[in-house]
Amino acid sequence: MQDHGDACRLTGLGRTYGRGASAHHALGGIDLAIRANEFFTLLGPSGCGKTTLLRLIAGFDQPTVGEIAIFGRNVAGMPPEDRPVNTVFQHYALFPHLTVAENVGFALRMLGRPRTEIAATVARMVELVGLEGMEKRRPDQLSGGQKQRVALARALAPGPKILLLDEPLSALDAKLRQRMRSELKALQRETGITFVFVTHDQDEALAMSDRIAVMQGGKVQQLGRPEEIYEAPANRFVADFIGGANLIPARMGPEGAVAEGLGTIPATGTGGAEVTLAIRPERLAILPAGGHQPGDLGPLTVAERIYMGNELSFRLEGAAVPLHVTLPRGGLRGALDFAPGDRVALRPEAGAIRLLAS
């Protein structure tokens, strides 16, 4: 059973709240192997069970079924204080009666380390997160970003093998969040600690992770590298949740999938089967309806033009569902513009259309 490649292995993990008729399956059938030194992200909408899963790994809660092994060791019944795991809490949970330095040194004090070692580690951690000069402050004298850094330094100080981060950036403003993303990623690379990072923000997940587990309804919907998740979504949920793909109902015909108002898209499959076509809004070119080439989709009508600064987006009507197309501004593609009422056609990039079982 010894397997040092995996920092954390979850087998058949489930957590059910309540029992009988009111039972709620917050997590079910989770099988995951989180590798050592990996930046691993749990991504999913609110209520999908991300926090529940972190709490099971940290030891605050016990699974209803299944097993958790940390570096090959089954941790069933092991209390949180004995696990080589530390947590950055969603709302930081800094000790309000302690200073920044005392917060950061808390774990080492609990472990009974010598004073000089504690002081040295605290100084190193405070420097690592860039809080020099604030050691004497209390949490209520810090900004949100500073609190977040203290929480990070506090969790890193005892030298965990796995760091659990529960939406650590969600309370920060957009700019700071952007910067903390890069800093966190750099920190993970430098320390080599396995990060298990929870977020409901797909950009954050794509930008930072080595691998992502997309969760929904207490289950893992897809596991893979950011590119795999984005380019090859396994199902409707993943395609929709990540990057908001156009999901078009179609039916398999002799020459491919036939979609109402769009034409036939070359594909193979059982004739008559209901399928879903997934197309990313930015992988479609938009052109005037006149010069229709084979392979183009449409014609469709522009229903809305949405200007968003760095990109321009159109809502098109004429298919079974409204379609969205996004053009980056600038460059050649940006030269094209349309107004509501214009007739247009769509030209998908090669390999842009994915066929999902309905």
Partner: protein, 288 residues
Amino acid sequence: MKLHRLLLAPSLGTILIFMALPIALTTLYSVLTPAQHGGVIWQPSGEAYVRLMFERDIFDDTLSFNADYLQILGRSALQAGFATILCLLIGLPTAWFIATRPPAQKSLWLMLVTVPYWVNLLVRTIALLLMLRDEGPINGALQSMGLTDGPLPLAYNNFAIGLGLVSSFLPFMILPLYAAIERFDFSLLEAAYDLHASRWQAVWSVILPILRPGLIAGGLLVFIPGIGSYLAPDILGGGKTLMLGNLIGMQFQGSRNWPFGAALSTVLMSVTLIALILVARRAAREAA
């Protein structure tokens, strides 16, 4: 004058008439001369304060040190201190239990804590005495079970007084502690465990420091009325060991030395006030 200031008038008036004036009057009486059959003669005198620590010889007027009254003060403080600690040991788990119940249950438990207050304190104290008496149900049960040969001396001693103090003032400990625990952020406890704290370490390093304002408030609310309490020593102590409250009471009844009683009250009040100021200062310094 704005209308909202008028809203304050009743409470300010009440404080003035029923608190500030009586305190001022007590302090004033303490520096007057006692009249023969109670009351005071309007003639300034420091005699009452001298009496706190010295005894005046009847024949040659020389002063000799007398620690009797200081002892009574010390004994009362000790008794109240023990009661406070006992209330804390009982009150903290109780308050914790109530604060961690589901919201619907909390108000029921809180109401149960205040149930004893539906009965008059005097009646409650006498009922406690009946329980503790040699012929009372506790001693009766112990003897009939053959656990003791004769009655245990439960009543008319310091043990009984302490029990009386605890039973009268326990809710004053529970309620502020409950309020503090109610506000306690339980994710801090998880953070402590996550950061390798054992249960005891979490209690010492996180729970108690954060609950400290509640602990101090509860402690003061038990200690202050405890040190001057009158009924418990009088009834449960059988008047055998003199406590500060009874000593003061005696001055206004049998002994009829009003200025001395007023001086004792003033000293008690000052000691309490100084303690309060020290506590408040320390709290302010730590908040800074």
